[in-house]
């Protein structure tokens, strides 16, 4: 088991006053979630917006601090990790964001965006770093000419490729893909999904693939977890979830999504 989550819960206070106390209520964004992710698999996480799936993804990377529960990565507890240990974990775990426009710093050149993880974690000469950036750009299907340009000069799909190159820079083992194709056109989205599948084979990646779209998840995932109001209502092999859903919410999700054909692989 690469990653093991036990009873993970995140509670957001609602309407907190400026003096801290007196919260008017709480939102259980992630409610007592337990699941495991095997090395090399793709776990699809499906649910409607607001179901807590993005929060779960961010909790796993400790971008948000959980209220309670535990996360074990290769048997080591992430939540009790020190600052220095967490830096090590960050090399192994990366995230691809939904919004390809918001996730790249508009004031940085593509070269600096992709090189940033290398600058943070590895000592290398600028020339070596440039070489690595060029390599990463090729891996995601972009040319070296992209290096000196700014993110706003690229289309959504190209930006998402830049985001993926950045996520891959440290050769991570595990990637949380938070709705990576939801903001893209269907055609561009399927190219990105195919790219992710290809990179998974090349780099031996494990994905937590978050999406509200059943067809996209079905295409990529080996297993699917269905999330509803902060809870995992159903989890199992992709085929079983899509062909013989046990939970009524899963059925309604399947019925709500129109058929979509993803071309080529």
């Amino acid at each position: 088991m690469l990653l093991e989550i036990r009873n993970l819960t995140k509670v957001f206070p609602l309407g907190e006053s400026i003096f801290g106390g007196g919260a008017k209520g709480v939102l259980r964004a992630v409610d007592d979630v337990s699941l495991g992710i095997q090395a090399g698999e793709t776990l699809g996480l499906v649910g409607e917006s607001g179901s807590g799936k993005s929060t779960l993804g961010r909790l796993i990377l400790r971008l948000i601090e959980p209220t309670s529960g535990s996360i074990r990565y290769q048997g080591r507890d992430l939540l009790t990790a020190s600052h220095a240990e967490m830096r090590g974990f960050r090399r192994d775990m990366q995230i691809i964001f939904q919004d390809p426009f918001g996730s790249l710093d508009p004031r940085m050149r593509v070269e600096d965006v992709i090189a940033e993880p290398l600058v943070i974690h590895e000592r290398m000469s600028p020339a070596t770093r440039r070489g690595r950036v060029a390599e990463l750009l090729r891996a995601v299907g972009l040319g070296e000419s992209a290096m000196r340009r700014f993110p706003h000069e690229f289309s959504g799909g190209q930006r998402q490729r830049i985001g993926i190159a950045r996520a891959l820079a440290l050769r991570p083992k595990f990637i949380v893909a938070d709705e990576p194709v939801s903001a893209l056109d269907v055609g561009v989205g399927s190219q990105i999904v195919n790219l992710m599948a290809q990179l998974q084979r090349e780099f031996g990646l494990t994905y937590l693939f978050i999406s509200h779209s059943m067809p996209v998840v079905r295409y990529l995932a080996t297993r699917i977890a269905v999330m509803y109001r902060g809870k995992i209502v159903e989890i199992g092999p992709a085929e079983q979830i899509t062909e013989r859903p046990a939970h009524s919410y899963t059925r309604s999700l399947l019925e709500a999504t129109p058929e979509m054909v993803i071309s080529g692989a």
Binding site: I18, F19, G20, R58, L61, L63, M86, R87, R90, R91, Q94, I95, F97, D99, G102, S103, L104, D105, P106, R107, E116, P117, I120, H121, G163, R166
Partner: protein
């Protein structure tokens, strides 16, 4: 960015006030830098026989009650104004950036304390009162003057920066940087500040005008740079007694203060218009 593609003459024609502001600021800065070579006379040279003489070809702006050349004193005075103005802005800005970034980025208790207790306390005092109290306590002098004016000046920047950081830290590229393992310092310096610096620059340009005015006020009150150093505020104070018999003693330094303040305000306004994409579209730039 698109900024580099805009030609200067075109920008100047479009916004003549800003162009005037830039030209005046350049003139004042040149005065400040090259005062010894540009001033026709030693600003402290006393020539009692020709005291209080009106503007003439020998003394373009006339002489003061000790017969000192007013034009020379104005040129030297711009040194004090520019030096104090830029130092005050630099110091307030530095403090405001640090405090505002910390409050905005970390939020929670730190933010509540800094924002509600510290900033409001400073804002509840008029800045000039604070400065007067400080100089009265520490004694006059250029360094104390800069400290005194920065004391009241940093809060405005801190407030602005805090608000901007608060909004910027929620942006996804900031989260991306954190996911990469970037330290807080790196996130703030490399990602947040470059993305929020534009309104801060506008505030600094307008703040420059405020600082020059404040310096003149302090010097007028005798709490600025000690004599015989020429400062516009000191000159105004010296000329006060001769407001009616020799008005040029007051008119010229007052005009200098006004022009300096006005030009920085023009520049600040133009920068704001330029950096706000909506008004830029309206202006067709």
């Amino acid at each position: 960015m698109a900024a580099t593609t805009i030609s200067l003459p075109r920008a100047a024609r479009h916004n003549p006030l800003a162009a005037i502001g830039v030209v005046l600021v350049v003139v004042f800065v040149l005065f400040a830098l090259f005062a010894p070579w540009m001033a026709p006379q030693d600003p402290a040279f006393i020539d009692l026989p020709s005291r209080l003489s009106p503007p003439s070809s020998a003394h373009w702006c006339g002489t003061d009650e000790l017969g000192r050349d007013i034009l020379s004193r104005l040129i030297y005075g711009s040194r004090i104004s520019m030096l104090v103005g830029s130092s005050v802005v630099a110091m307030s800005l530095a403090l405001g950036l640090v405090v505002g970034s910390i409050a905005g980025y970390y939020g929670g208790r730190i933010d509540r304390f800094v924002n509600i207790v510290v900033m409001n306390a400073f804002l509840s005092f008029p800045g000039i009162l604070l400065a007067i109290a400080f100089v009265a306590f520490r004694g006059p002098g250029i360094f104390n003057l800069v400290l005194a004016l920065s004391l009241g000046g940093w809060v405005g920047y801190a407030r602005l920066v805090r608000g901007q950081v608060l909004a910027a830290r929620e942006r996804e590229f900031v989260e991306a940087a954190r996911a990469l393992g970037a330290s807080d310092l790196r996130v703030i310096v490399r990602h947040i500040l470059p993305n929020i610096i534009q309104p801060v620059i506008v505030q600094a340009a307008i703040g420059m005008a405020g600082a020059i005015l404040a310096e003149a006020t302090m010097s007028f009150l005798g709490l600025g740079v000690p004599p015989p150093t020429a400062s516009w505020g000191t000159m105004l104070n010296d000329g006060r007694a001769h407001l009616f018999d020799a008005p040029h003693l007051v008119i010229f330094p007052a005009g200098a203060v006004m022009l300096a303040v006005l030009s920085f305000n023009f520049i600040g306004d133009a920068l704001r218009d330029y950096l706000d994409p909506r008004s830029r579209i309206e202006a067709g730039l």
